[in-house]
Symmetry: C2
Subunit: 223 residues, 2 copies
DNA sequence: AAGAATTTGTCCGTATGTATC
DNA sequence: AGATACATACGGACAAATTCT
């Protein structure tokens, strides 16, 4: 495994570049095919390489999918499922709050039509009693994009995916909370465009409040 | 792999619990040793299971070590190494800023002697021109502990380990920056104990300023 | 369009190193 | 010290998928 890693780094390979075949590596490294395959499997699990039957093995894009898988399982195993989920939601909130200044700084004075239409759809759906997971993730992704940090973006998306994987159904609970959540999104957008950091932080609070209240009160459940 | 995951989840196994032996799984699932081993290798890479020769395979603690490995390689491959590293440092900063209110809230009115002695050592070392990586990680870990979110703690530690793995040497650069960084740590602590959120945020800024300046100005380098 | 070549997926059998009792 | 249980490693064979001729 380490040898292959060093190979990728030393050759400066980029995602998509092909790696030597299993047979080739057996010769070069003087090990059996099983060993090469087990090494590739580990790198595959980390999304460092991608293996395709009949084609070969390639450098992958090293996404945060492994993190998601690991944390989803972890959340499914905690004494009560909601402590783990609460930690994930808190990270989401910490990222939103921690990026407040950067986001407001880069959004101030602009107007993002696509984000506005997303929040409009959110509020409309909430008033009809529908949930809006797709709009939710799209909104947060859009906000994060403005800071120009790919890792932050992926981390936020990862936490959101974990969130939905552990608790697929309700994003908030009753319709009152859903409408409040939808409006909080709009308030976040408006505050950022207005350059109002405090307003943005308050909206983030309002955004997570109903969810955290639900998680705090909910009893434990077995899976 | 999925079958084993489901096995862990359905049986509600906790870290340390033993899994069936490879031979056993071969029979139960009707597959060969190689397949079982390759599945275990993937789960091992994700730190979901731990394999011990001569003893067996056990549920592991699902740490964020896989994330570290993945991001270290990613950072070693970016067009210039410092864009990746800068993203990691920015996440550290976002976590510190995003946790400001929670930290100050839980620290206000208390006095953490061990954290004070850490910052004292930091400042002393900085004035002697020595770096202080151990004290640095210990300090941030100690602060994070007060919020009672294990995931946040691990995420912060992971980012710090990546940081040091990619840039093992200088934490800041010249001695002036090092002293400023050391003092910023003390200011973070004092502000949190005084319940001063704005002061805490300012100290966080001062803490990361020299580092981000260095990263922003440094030219790219090959590994 | 058919067949050959390449490459990964799976399986089997055997021998070896390691930990536990 | 010996026996047992278990993972590690190797080599060979065939199947399945993809690509090339």
């Amino acid at each position: 495994m380490d040898v292959i890693e060093q190979y990728i780094i030393s050759k400066g390979l980029k995602p998509g570049d092909p790696l030597p075949t299993e047979a080739r590596l057996c010769e070069d490294l003087g090990v059996s095919r099983s060993s090469v395959r087990e090494a590739f499997r580990q790198l595959q699990a980390l999304d460092i390489v991608a293996v395709h039957q009949g084609r070969g093995t390639f450098v992958s894009d090293m996404s945060l999918r492994p993190l998601v898988k690991s944390l989803v399982i972890r959340a499914s195993l905690g004494t009560d499922n909601f402590t783990s989920l609460k930690e994930v939601v808190e990270i989401r909130e910490v990222l939103d709050v921690g990026l407040a200044r950067k986001i407001v700084e880069s959004m101030e004075g602009t107007r993002h039509e696509e984000l506005h239409s997303i929040t409009d759809v959110m509020i409309a759906k909430a008033e009809r009693g529908e949930s809006f997971p797709d709009e939710d993730i799209a909104f947060h992704r859009g906000l994060m994009q403005s800071v120009g940090n790919a890792l932050v973006e992926q981390l936020m998306s990862a936490m959101w995916i974990i969130h939905m994987a552990v608790l697929p159904d309700l994003p908030a609970g009753d319709q009152t909370s859903m409408i409040a959540t939808a409006r909080a999104h709009r308030d976040m957008l408006l505050a950022s465009e207005a350059g109002d950091v405090e307003g943005y932080e308050a909206a983030v609070d309002a955004h997570y409040a109903p969810l955290l209240r639900t998680l705090g009160n909910l009893p434990s459940q077995q899976n």
